[in-house]
Amino acid sequence: MAASSKRHAATSQSGNYADADAGSVPFGEGDFILKNDSDKSTDSFTNRNINVDVQVDKSNYGKLLGHLGSNHYRCLGMAAYSRNNPYVKLLLQAMSQSGCEAFQDRHFACEQCSEVVNGGFDPSTSQIVLCQNNIKTQSAMDRVITHELIHAFDHCRAKINWNDIRHLACTEIRAANLSGDCSFGMEHFGRFHRMQFGFVKHQQTCVKDRAIRSVLAVRDTSEKLVKQAVDEVFDTCFNDLEPFHKIPRSKSDAKAAWRERYRYEL
């Protein structure tokens, strides 16, 4: 992890997340460097602190106000409520069965991010980072947590080299494929659909596209190399459906998979 932390720290603010989900942001997703804090970006690890500096004073009055209206507490509340979502339920169950139980206070962090990031998974601290200033609704929170939990599940069951662009591409393909980001409804009627309509095999087009954009968002490499890597691992990773037994069509599919109680021991 030493080499990776150097790389993360050197690139940009968003670089300290192994994966930053730019999924639902249609335009300008390459622009990831924090504009305001560009001088802080050299030591992003020391920045990424679980005690987030929310603009709440420490007095009782400030705490009260914070509880009533701050992004941070709203984010924590929504993250806790996400455990009712069938996708999240299934993934948490699969992870605890493979020995990586995810606790609310240890493995989830609500933080301020740059404007285009929704969330990320940080393998060095094994935390899921949720961007409290960008996630506004419960359904968005469910989607981001599902996406990041798939990365966490991959980290839990496999030795992922986060510097290897093929590994990164693979986990991005799986996350885009299984989290429902590329479902028909999201692609055609979703708030951030990208005006790319299609039907036959459109899921594959969408997954490839999203994976390329997500990898480009966190790694400073040429688009050609990323495309090559995604194409190389696409067949393997598109057909790797763990912990779902098929590509979930809707919440009811995820619920059914959760009820069937598959076993995921390592």
Partner: protein
């Protein structure tokens, strides 16, 4: 439901017939037909689900050992097919060691690492 075989369900080797039924009806639904075209560009193949459901019904009604063995065999084969594709990465045999470490320790380690290099 065959209550005497409860232990079989718990191990997850065989599932209750209602699950096979749900799989089959789900597979032949219109929604899945469209979904299959959307994902793979071809229509779904539900033969295996139908077969499994019918065998399960036979096992449930008669308790025949042959039906049970066939069902076990099918489940095993399906699991094998799901796991046969090779992975890009090396799989772990135990979960990552720092997963449950306290946050302060982990953050300190990460900080030290980055300081060493920078």
């Amino acid at each position: 439901m065959n209550e005497a075989e409860g232990s079989v369900y718990e191990t997850g080797d065989i599932r209750p017939c209602s699950i096979y039924q749900r799989r089959y009806t789900d597979c032949k639904s219109i929604a899945n037909f469209l979904h299959s075209f959307y994902v793979y560009g071809k229509k779904p193949n539900c033969e295996q689900f139908k077969l499994d459901y019918n065998i399960c019904k036979i096992w449930d009604n008669t308790g025949s050992k042959e039906a049970k063995d066939t069902l076990l065999e099918n489940e095993r084969r399906r699991n094998e097919e799901n796991n046969k594709h090779k992975h890009v990465w090396e799989m772990r045999t135990s979960p990552p060691s720092d997963w449950h470490k306290p946050l302060k320790e982990v953050e300190q380690a990460a900080k030290n690492n980055s300081e060493e290099i920078l």
